[in-house]
Subunit: 221 residues, 2 copies
């Protein structure tokens, strides 16, 4: 029964996701769903990405968290418009869904949304459930920290399958771990041969330029 109910929920979600995608496309806004486990470094990468791109693009952010507005405050300090979704207000959901994004977009002033070139949605920290819910963005990117280990692609395949980009973060820690890059790349390729991997470190800045350049080109189409 649980599976049947889930299928109905996912079907309804996909309809709203299509509406979101149409709405954003009509307004000329490129959109990105950023996902990862808790603590992989989504917010830190987002901060570094905004710092590099805010002169070139008008960026807006939707922050998804179960509780607290800490991440939205961090992003707000960079001077870009940000909306916080706290899922503990709506059942404690472990992921964002298309309906939450639609409601968030309605909270922005119409002029404010239309001024954007790019919307980045930072999903709830969870390597599993967010991958099941299309929220209506143009693309999905995932973050994995090398501290999480090289065995994740085979153990949590769905997020690797649906993501266009994999930001491999905390490269500054790799020498202190037993992360095997060759094995990792092989497992990733088995799950999704088309995914683009950017090894980087939000802490040292390593690899961020390549990712930001790629993102700007992807947004330009």
């Amino acid at each position: 029964m649980e599976i049947k109910v889930l299928q109905r929920i996912l079907k309804a979600n996909d309809g709203i996701a299509r509406e979101n995608r149409r709405y954003l496309t009509e307004k000329g806004i490129f959109s990105l769903n950023l996902m990862s486990s808790p603590g992989a470094g989504k917010t830190s990468i987002l901060e570094r990405t905004i710092e590099r791109l805010r002169e070139r693009l008008r960026l807006g952010v939707i922050e998804g968290d179960i509780a607290t507005s800490r991440d939205a405050e961090r992003i707000g300090r960079l001077g870009v418009p940000v909306l916080q979704i706290n899922t503990d207000m709506i059942g404690g959901a472990c992921h964002l869904d298309a309906n939450m994004i639609q409601n968030a977009l309605r909270e922005w002033e119409p002029g404010e949304v239309e001024a954007l070139d790019m919307l980045i949605v930072e999903n709830v920290g969870n390597l599993v459930c967010p991958a099941e819910f299309d929220i209506g963005t143009d693309m999905s990117a995932m973050v994995l920290s090398v501290a999480e280990g090289d065995d994740k692609p085979k153990k949590y395949p769905l997020m690797f399958t649906i993501s266009e980009v994999l930001l491999l973060n905390k490269m500054d820690l790799i020498e202190h771990t037993d992360f095997d890059m060759e094995r990792f790349r092989k497992d990733v390729a088995d799950v999704n041969p088309r995914i683009r991997i950017f090894p980087l470190s939000a802490k040292t800045g390593e690899g961020l330029e390549a990712w930001c350049d790629w993102l700007v080109k992807r947004q330009e189409g």
Copy 2:
């Protein structure tokens, strides 16, 4: 609607969890639900714990993963009985539930279960959903890696609230991170003042003795 369905699922789950708890208690088996984000180090801690305790206690393990039997193979190499649950066979669930544990317990030979002193269940890697599902164990423990950051207790409060023990892993990496132990302990205490924190490293062995001694005492009652 989603919330109402979830409540019904959780209520049914709680009934089966009570049955599991009664079954294990009757057989004199102490049981532990081990939870964390992906890559926090559940399996490594479990390996080190088994190595230390297998001479003193008869241990059994249930491994929960979305896909692969890699963790069960790692545990099996230590010579303890292990059962693998792969949730991708049953809808790709992002957590274990009481029904999965009940079915797993039935797969063991009755004599095999009765010989156990302690059952450790390693849940699916997810800092959110597993905390919502009582699987019928005597206690819950969670792992957090210092690489995940010190801001997790306030952002993912439920797992911190329901866990009796917090194993703070990868202490060997702490000097390479900006993890603030004082802030972390304060935030943990705000969420759950009774939780017991064991800083440790599955890699170096630091702190494992304190954790294993505590676990044996807890099992003895």
